[in-house]
């Protein structure tokens, strides 16, 4: 994990916090140096401040993405203006947080990014008692088969791929059904309800916001 932050106090607290959670954290003060470092080393997650000496966080991010490096990046910014966020996310940030950051929130977001990355990278996704194998399309909960139907497995995969992201019902339907199948939104709802019931007791929770859509997240309780 790489933290790029020029304020020593803040950097120290963030590093302490992340180290206490068992991450190994490198820290860079200067935009140019961070850019050089990122050129030669791979990190699992980059926490990037925007206002940096040398070159701005956005520039670092832009040059990272221009090398087609898809390391997850969380932007830390003290500016709360929306335009900044849009710039950040357009440049290719995976997430952003506004300073002062809530450390619990920060580590939760890091975890989500790590999960998403792990979920995409390997065939086996496991969260608590839930284990999902992409290759065999089989989900087990606490070692026992979760008895999911094909559609539920499909939905589970969509949710795991998008942990921490908001998906509208239409998006879910679009990914679940082909054009011929004429997805009914109610069927999506039923499916989500059924899947949610089956996931009961695992850390993977699917939240519904009527209107905006669905978001899967990993519950912090365990």
């Amino acid at each position: 994990m790489l933290l790029v932050e020029d304020n020593d106090d803040l950097a120290e607290t963030i590093m302490d916090r992340l180290k206490a959670e068992g991450h190994s954290v490198d820290r860079e003060r200067d935009g140019n140096e961070a850019n050089e470092l990122l050129r030669h080393f791979k990190f699992d997650i980059v926490l990037l401040d925007v206002n940096l000496p040398g070159r701005s966080g956005y520039e670092v991010l832009r040059s990272l993405r221009s090398r087609s490096d898809d390391t997850p990046v969380i932007i830390l910014t003290a500016r709360s203006q929306i335009d900044d966020r849009v710039i950040g996310l357009d440049t290719g940030a995976d997430d952003y947080m506004i300073k002062p950051v809530d450390f619990r929130e920060l580590s939760a977001r890091c975890r989500v990014l790590a999960w998403r990355r792990a979920g995409n990278a390997s065939n086996i996704f496991s969260a608590g008692t839930l284990v999902f194998d992409r290759a065999t399309k089989r989900a087990t909960i606490a070692g026992r088969d979760a008895q999911m139907r094909a559609r539920e497995i499909q939905l589970l995969k969509i949710m795991i791929d998008n942990v921490g992201r908001m998906l509208t019902k239409e998006e879910v339907a679009g990914r679940l059904y082909s054009f011929e199948e004429a997805p009914s939104m109610n069927a999506v709802e039923q499916l989500v309800t059924r899947l949610r019931r089956k996931l009961d007791g695992t850390p993977l929770v699917i939240k519904t916001a009527r209107g905006p859509g669905y978001m899967a997240y990993l519950s912090d309780d365990d």
Partner: protein, 705 residues
């Protein structure tokens, strides 16, 4: 306005005027030059002509031919001009010279006649003015012409021309200068009000924000008013800033000293346990300080942005969606159930002139308020509706709400109504500032969910076309309406109900079509071009549930005062339960026919909310049920009604207390069981599945979970 700028204006005016005068002078001097030349020529030509005449007068024909006796008077006349030299020549044209300088030049086309001919011509390097005049003499040889040519240098007449010209020009130049002087005076005088303003402003102390006094001329009234307007808004803004700084100083000092207090207590702690608890307090206080700071900055930003015209047309619906998607990422929102209903507002109908940053801030603060002040499993229902030129954005929650008496104080800055939640008292004042900045109305009241209902009423930008369409459609609605009922219940049984309904709601006609249950089901599934019914009544529970689950029903919302009591209430007599289960529910494919029934008089408890397949969001249109209906018609139809009321149990859902956001149409896994004496203790309520979202219910059209 400074003195330098004033002078430059004067200079510009003067230069323009001087340029004008110069052009005028050049034109006039051209004329003057020609005129003075003519005048000088005229004077001297007279002398020349006089001399020539007197010479001709002394020519005579003698025996030797033509002779001339040069008269003394001619010489006298010519010596009147003391400067110029004179040459003369007397000759017989075409024959011979008589006397004088023989090679004086003649114009080629000259014909000697009795009238004198004047012309300018060079001779031996000097400019001469010549006159040629002839006289016919009668001698022995008959008639004969004799001509006199006189030449004079032009020195004097040139001098005279120049003197005429310069005198004239000098006069004009003086006149022009005087004119310019007047212009200068006029400019000075008319710009004097500007100089007064300038000196007034220049002499001011920085803190003096009084208005500039005076009665400006009409031409600079705009400038004058603008300056005063600017001073006024500056003074307003400074007053705001001063109050704000004072408030901020107080709030942050208080908050920081509390933090410091906790920390120093922690330092002095006797044992680790005590220190830990004090540090926890300090941590919480720090979090509050952070939030306070954020809100203070947000407040300042909102007020600052409301001062300047940063508003542009924005689509409110998409903005709200974005904000909700963003706020859902907050981990504190995970227990909270959030819904957003805005389906009645179509694309393009949600345009307001606004500042998206401020609105975002307002909505975020409202959500933040719910999160902070409500229980962790709170419910937030956000609704966007459009009525006429208004767009209402309401945020409701199921939290503790605000007491009626405190509502007016709630939007005041730094007024926190709840002591235990330790609010900064800024959240609602930010919302209020945003509302004020947008010219929007801010209404607060009790929500259907039991908590607070904050509604922002924006003025939307309606395209003229939309307005016309809207007016047309509402005009159509105002005309007679027909309520189309497709039903599997015998017509005679329903007739009294229909008649009573029609009697109570003038302008609404009921068309009642009877079907068999299966045929009814199929007809709804495959409507084709047929008009969709507003109400579908059938006793085939499974088929009805299937229709509902296909998204063909609309949600029913009843005001609490007319909602039926809960079915199967323990201890309640069976009859009351059946009486109060109205035989109404609806499936309305696609097009809503029910728009605006007069609700005041009380009508059938038919309220049909359409759900478009594909959206899942329902909009509620409510028709109040009639009390009369309950007395006059229910006995006759009660038993049948109970039988045909597929979803009667779901009546309980939308109507009671703070549970309106819960599913309206919910069924057990295998359809609906009717309330019956055998199951009085099975309470008809929606699944309470907040903690355990997967409890046994099939999700249906408007299921929240």
């Amino acid at each position: 306005m400074t003195e330098v700028a004033g002078r430059s204006l004067q200079r510009r005016l003067l230069v323009t005027m001087a340029g004008g005068f110069a052009v005028l002078l050049i034109l006039i001097s051209l004329l003057l030059w020609t005129y003075s030349r003519n005048a000088a020529n005229r004077t001297h030509d007279l002398l020349l002509a006089g001399a020539a005449l007197s010479i001709l007068d002394r020519t005579s024909v003698g025996p030797d031919g033509v002779t001339v006796d040069l008269p003394h008077s001619a010489m006298e006349i010519l010596t009147l001009n003391p400067v110029d030299r004179v040459l003369y020549r007397i000759f017989l044209p075409g024959e011979r010279e008589i006397t004088g300088t023989p090679d004086l030049p003649l114009p080629s086309d000259l014909v000697a006649g009795a009238t004198p001919v004047f012309y300018d011509m060079g001779y031996h390097g000097s400019e001469f003015r010549f006159v040629v005049q002839g006289r016919q003499l009668i001698g022995s040889d008959g008639r004969q012409w004799v001509a006199v040519q006189l030449g004079q240098t032009v020195e004097w007449r040139s001098a005279q021309q120049l003197s005429f010209f310069t005198t004239g020009l000098a006069g004009l130049a003086v006149l022009s200068l005087i004119g310019l002087g007047f212009v200068w005076v006029a400019i000075r005088t008319s710009l004097s009000p500007l100089r007064e303003i300038a000196s007034d402003l220049a002499q001011r102390a920085p803190s003096d924000l009084g208005l500039v006094k005076g009665a400006p001329p009409r031409e600079i009234r705009g400038l004058f008013d603008a300056i005063n307007g600017f001073i006024q808004s500056l003074s307003r803004s400074r007053a705001l800033t001063e109050t704000f700084i004072a408030d901020v100083a107080h709030q942050t000092r208080t908050s920081l000293s509390a933090l410091q207090g906790h920390l120093s207590l922690a330092v002095d702690a006797k044992d680790p346990e005590q220190m830990r608890s004090r540090l926890l307090k300090a941590d919480r206080q720090a979090a509050r300080t952070v939030r306070l700071t954020n809100q203070l900055l947000a407040n300042a930003m909102v007020i600052h942005r409301s001062d300047r015209p940063s508003q542009e047309p924005i689509a409110l619906k998409q903005l709200v969606r974005d904000i909700l998607a963003e706020s859902l990422r907050d981990s504190r929102m995970r227990q909270i159930s959030l819904s957003f209903v805005g389906d009645t507002v179509g694309a393009g109908e949600d345009i307001i002139a606004g500042d998206s940053v401020s609105i975002r801030e307002a909505l975020r603060n409202l959500i933040e308020n719910v999160v902070r002040h409500g229980p962790p499993d709170n419910t937030i229902a956000i609704t966007l509706t459009a009525t006429g030129a208004e767009l209402r954005l309401s945020v409701e929650d199921a939290g503790p709400g605000i007491a009626e008496a405190d509502l007016s104080r709630a939007t005041e800055r730094f007024t926190s109504l709840s002591a235990e939640s330790m609010g900064s008292g800024l959240g609602l004042s930010i919302v209020k500032a945003v509302a004020d900045g947008h010219g929007a109305e801010l209404n607060m009241g009790r929500s259907r969910l039991g908590g607070l209902d904050v509604t922002l009423v924006f003025r939307r930008i309606l395209a003229v076309l939309t307005l016309v369409l809207w007016a047309l459609s509402s005009a159509q609605q105002a005309q007679a309406q027909t309520l189309l009922v497709h039903s599997a219940t015998d017509t005679p049984a329903m007739q009294p109900l229909i008649e009573a309904f029609e009697a109570r709601t003038p302008g609404v006609q009921v068309t009642y079509v009877e079907f068999q249950t299966i045929a009814l089901y199929h007809s709804i599934l495959d409507l084709g071009d047929a008009p969709p019914p507003d109400v579908v009544v059938s006793s085939a529970m499974d088929l009805q549930v299937d229709l509902v689950n296909r998204g063909l029903a609309r949600r029913i919302q009843l005001p609490p005062e007319v909602a039926p009591p809960p079915l199967g209430r323990p201890g309640g007599p069976r009859s009351s339960a059946s009486h109060s289960s109205p035989p109404s529910w609806s499936t309305i494919p696609e097009r809503s026919r029910l728009r605006s029934f007069p609700a005041a008089t009380g009508t059938l408890p038919l309220s049909c909310a359409r759900t478009r397949p594909g959206s899942g969001d329902a909009s509620g249109l409510t028709i109040s049920p009639s009390r009369a209906w309950a007395t006059s018609t229910r006995r006759r139809t009660a038993c049948r009604a109970r039988r045909c009321c597929a979803c009667s149990r779901s009546w309980a859902a939308p109507s009671f207390g703070p549970s309106a956001a819960r599913p309206t149409w919910s069924t057990r896994r295998h359809g609906v069981s009717l309330p019956s004496p055998s199951m009085p203790s099975a309470p008809m309520r929606p699944p309470r599945s907040r903690r355990n979202p997967s409890s046994g219910c099939i999700s249906s059209t408007t299921t929240t979970w």
